[in-house]
Structure formats: structure tokens, C-alpha cells
């Protein structure tokens, strides 16, 4: 599956992208919400977006709202990955159409657990 990592920080794109590549995803990057919409239009096989909230030009929240206006993207899984940890922010994002919410800082296991919950990866249990 192809995943779009949306963050204005190259550091965060590298960290999140690395976790996803290790989990078997092909990763595409975008620096803000508008850039991400352009990437979505270019790649019609994106199945997962990992989205920062605070970005210049278009925020992650605005991106989620915009994506949910498009019927052709209704099956795309949207996961916020952000420092915005207040309850009302989480509720807003989920109400707007995000499926999951990860608060920075995070470990790779947190991301993988969310992806497993969403049915996007399988994690082998060790006995």
C-alpha cells in the first residue's frame, strides 16, 4: 500500500516514513495540506495519510476536511500524527473524518499498533 506522510518538518517525515517503509508501505511525502492534495491527485493508489496538524499554507485539519469532500478518496485512511494533544482537538479531527490520532512524541510501536488496529498491518506475536 502507498502511504502519504504530511509534515512540514523533514525530520518528522523521515521518522514517520521510516516506520512505514519498515512496515511494508511505499511512502510519498508532502510538506503541507495543499501539497498533500496535489500528491493525492497524482497518486490514485494512496491508502493511508499520516497528517501533522500545524503546517503553513494548509493545516492538517483543513486537509482532512478537504479530503472528506471527495467521494473518490472515501476509502483513504487518515491518521493524525501531531503535537496537538487536547481532547477537543482530537474530537474535532475525528469528527472531521480522521480515523486515528497519534500524539508526538511517539514510539514506532505506537504507530504500528494504530495501523494494526486499522487493519493496515499485521504484527507477528512473539511467544
Amino acid at each position: 500500500m502507498k502511504a502519504l506522510v504530511i509534515d512540514d518538518s523533514r525530520v518528522m517525515r523521515k521518522i514517520v516514513g521510516g516506520i512505514l517503509v519498515d512496515a511494508g508501505f511505499e511512502v510519498v511525502e508532502a510538506e503541507n495540506g495543499q501539497d498533500a492534495l496535489d500528491r493525492m491527485a497524482e497518486h490514485d493508489d494512496i491508502g493511508l495519510c499520516c497528517i501533522d496538524w500545524n503546517m503553513p499554507i494548509m493545516t492538517g485539519f483543513e486537509f482532512v476536511v478537504e479530503v472528506r469532500k471527495h467521494a473518490e478518496w472515501r476509502d483513504v485512511t487518515l491518521m493524525m500524527v501531531t503535537t496537538e494533544g487536547e481532547q477537543d482537538q482530537i474530537v474535532r479531527a475525528l469528527a472531521a473524518g480522521a480515523h486515528e490520532y497519534v500524539i508526538k512524541p511517539f514510539t514506532p510501536e505506537v504507530i504500528l499498533d494504530k495501523l494494526q488496529f486499522l487493519g493496515l498491518v499485521e504484527i507477528e506475536e512473539t511467544v
Binding site: S9, R10, V11, N54, E84, G85, E86, K104
Partner: protein
């Protein structure tokens, strides 16, 4: 300047210590124990850089990280998985330390009631003008033997 009650949690050092150590454990070092409270006198930062984000609200709270350039370069290499001999350019430096400030700021923001919005990070060579502001906390950590500062200011 009087600090609103909602900002009271930011005068407690423990949450800042927890936020900083969680950040370094998960994103910088990959294991706990490398970031520790700085003991002794307030350190001097060589070729200091100042990185901050602001949290708007009843007053603006500035969350600022302070580090020497060399320490910031070590952090950048750690975050971007660069080799120890690789040179760090200004864009990567600003991106890396800016993201650290962003994560600390976002977690500080979640400590207060109705905090408003978080600004994008700013990185400078000189300390920003805090005239009229009130320092809530300034503390230092050690990482790889070098000092790193965290300061929270309430700005008018």
C-alpha cells in the same frame, strides 16, 4: 505581571522534565536515560541558538529551547540518522531543533486550559526580546555531556 490560574501548571518543573525525557527517549535516543537534569551552576552555552514556539491564550506562553550550535548539530544528526562526520546545514538544523521545540510546545499546550493555537517554530542566533514578560521556568538538562535549556515565558 500576574499569571492566570490556568497557567499555574507551567510553574511546576516535573511536567517539563517528563515531556523532555519522553521526547528524547522516543525520538532522539531510542532509549531512556540519556537526558538528565543538569546539576550545579547554570551552564554557559557555546554559540547559543534559541528555538521557540508560542502558545496563544489569556497570555502568550513562549516555549523556548536553548542549546549551543554544536549540541544542536548532534541533535540534528540523531534525528535525521546522519553520520557523525556529516556536516549539518542551517535548514536541517532549524528543522530538527524546531521540531523538538514544536513537540515540547505542543505538550506544554496540553497542560493548560483553553490554550489557543501553537505557532510554527522560530530559530535565532540571539535571545528574543522578552521585555514585559514573566519567566515561569528556566531549567537545564544534560545530553551527551552538553547543556540544553528549556524556558517557559508568559508574555504580555
Amino acid at each position: 505581571m500576574t499569571i492566570p490560574d490556568t497557567w499555574e501548571p507551567l510553574t511546576d518543573l516535573d511536567p517539563i522534565l517528563t515531556i523532555a525525557q519522553d521526547l528524547f527517549t522516543t525520538m532522539v535516543d531510542g532509549e531512556p536515560g540519556h537526558l538528565y537534569p543538569w546539576m550545579g551552576e547554570e551552564p554557559t552555552l557555546d554559540d547559543a541558538r534559541y528555538t521557540w514556539v508560542d502558545v496563544s491564550g489569556p497570555v502568550v506562553t513562549r516555549v523556548m529551547l536553548m542549546a549551543g550550535r554544536e549540541t544542536g548539530e548532534h541533535l540534528t544528526r540523531a534525528l535525521l540518522a546522519m553520520g557523525e562526520d556529516e556536516s549539518v546545514n542551517d535548514a536541517d538544523f532549524a528543522d530538527a531543533v524546531g521540531e523538538l521545540a514544536n513537540v515540547v510546545g505542543g505538550n506544554v499546550k496540553s497542560l493548560v486550559t483553553n490554550p489557543g493555537t501553537l505557532t510554527l517554530p522560530v530559530v535565532t542566533h540571539e535571545a528574543p526580546d522578552m521585555a514585559g514578560g514573566t519567566k515561569l521556568i528556566e531549567t537545564y538538562f544534560g545530553w551527551k555531556g552538553a547543556p540544553l535549556g528549556v524556558a517557559l515565558w508568559a508574555l504580555a
